[in-house]
């Protein structure tokens, strides 16, 4: 059964006590063991694969050299026949027959190695898939476990701190109040700053037409008054 299904079963119906573990520690250990086993199998399969591939290459080389020998000796036999030395040609033909037997043997060995390589590659693929799958499931199990343990740790802190035991509505009210306070503070600070720089008062006076007459006007009036005297 997949872990998610197991978790569903554990969660359903609320048969579980609050804080009671959804996943037992055993379950985690089993997964970890399965991953470790699969990793071992993977390492072994990879080691065997390199060994078998090396042997496969050796056998291929051997086969090629046998092939060369056969062609070489066929040529020799031809030469012997050309020179009319039938006895030698027969001897060479026997040697060729030996080479051919040897080639057949090695071909069989090579086929065996090639099949083994395919099999090992398959095993490696499966081990890798199994590790990935188990790790995904282990993550699910571990996260469930951590969140649960974290919740218990959080609950025990909250329970020792009575002031935190407020309901959601009250929490929201407080947060909204705080946000409002902050906005008010900001607005008040702006007002204060405006007042401190005198901008506020000047603006009010200007609106009322007080104190806003430009100095140059005064001076001009004064000079005109002098000239008129």
């Amino acid at each position: 059964m997949s872990i998610l299904k197991k978790l569903f079963t554990a969660v359903r119906g609320g048969a579980r006590e609050v804080g009671e573990s959804i996943v037992d520690a055993n379950g985690i250990r089993i997964f970890e063991q399965e991953i470790a086993d699969a990793k071992n199998a993977l390492a072994k399969a990879k080691k065997s694969l390199t060994e078998v591939m090396a042997k496969e290459m050796q056998t291929k080389r051997k086969l090629a050299s046998l092939e060369d020998s056969i062609i070489e000796h066929e040529n020799y036999a031809g030469e012997a026949l050309e020179k009319g030395n039938e006895a030698l040609a027969v001897e060479i033909a026997e040697k060729i027959s030996e080479f051919e037997d040897e080639r057949a043997e090695h071909q069989q060995v090579l086929d065996g190695f090639s099949k083994h390589v395919i099999l090992l590659k398959q095993q490696i693929k499966e081990a890798e898939k199994s590790i990935k799958e188990n790790q995904r499931q282990l993550t699910m199990v571990k996260t469930t476990d951590s969140v649960q343990k974290a919740t218990m740790a959080v609950n025990s802190t909250l329970n020792t701190n009575e002031s935190s035991m407020v309901n959601a509505r009250q929490s929201l009210e407080r947060i909204k109040q705080r946000q409002q306070d902050r906005q008010d503070q900001l607005a008040a600070a702006k007002e204060l700053e405006a007042a401190a720089s005198g901008a506020d008062l000047k603006a009010k006076m200007a609106e009322a037409g007080i104190g806003s007459t430009p100095k140059s006007n005064d001076i001009l009036e004064r000079i005109k008054a002098k000239q008129n005297k």
């Binding site: 609050v18 804080g19 993550t139 571990k142 996260t143 476990d145 951590s146 969140v147 649960q148 343990k149 974290a150 919740t151 740790a153 959080v154 802190t157 935190s164 407020v166 309901n167 959601a168 509505r169 009250q170 929490s171 929201l172 407080r174 947060i175 909204k176 705080r178």
Partner: protein, 137 residues
């Protein structure tokens, strides 16, 4: 990033106009939890837990017993439907507690983590505001 390292970094970090306070709830041999308060909103703290693969950030919203019983199904359905549109976070239920959470890869940078925390904190407040109609008066 280890939780205590995150805690130290958060203390001097400011992003998206938000600041952070955090303290570690040490849980000897079990699961350490970092409590993070974004922008002084200590009513909706975010609890950060680290596993091998991910950092899980959870904010608890309300208890099931705070929900008007006749609206419980409607609320559950609404939360499921809102799971996709809500940015970066998802709704969840842990034991009897409704929660909103986000998960990050353990390899996340401080910028990614703080972005997640700020978004989660905003989402939590907005979500709570949006569901008050389902809660007991």
């Amino acid at each position: 990033m280890e939780l205590n390292e995150l805690s130290i970094k958060l203390a001097s970090f400011e992003t998206e106009g938000a600041n952070f306070e955090s303290f570690l709830i040490a849980n000897e041999g079990e699961q350490d939890v970092l409590q993070v308060i974004v922008d002084g909103n200590d009513e909706l703290p975010i609890f950060v837990t680290q596993t091998e693969e991910q950092l899980v950030c959870i904010s608890y919203l309300f208890n099931e017993n705070e929900v008007k019983p006749e609206l419980l199904n409607e609320l559950n359905e609404a939360l499921l439907k809102l799971n996709v549109p809500i940015p970066l976070s998802a709704f969840a239920k842990i034991d009897e507690q409704y929660a909103i959470f986000g998960a990050l890869a353990v390899s996340s940078s401080i910028d990614e983590i703080t972005h997640e925390l700020v978004t989660l904190a905003d989402n939590a407040i907005e979500a709570l505001d949006a569901v008050t109609m389902y809660l007991n008066d």
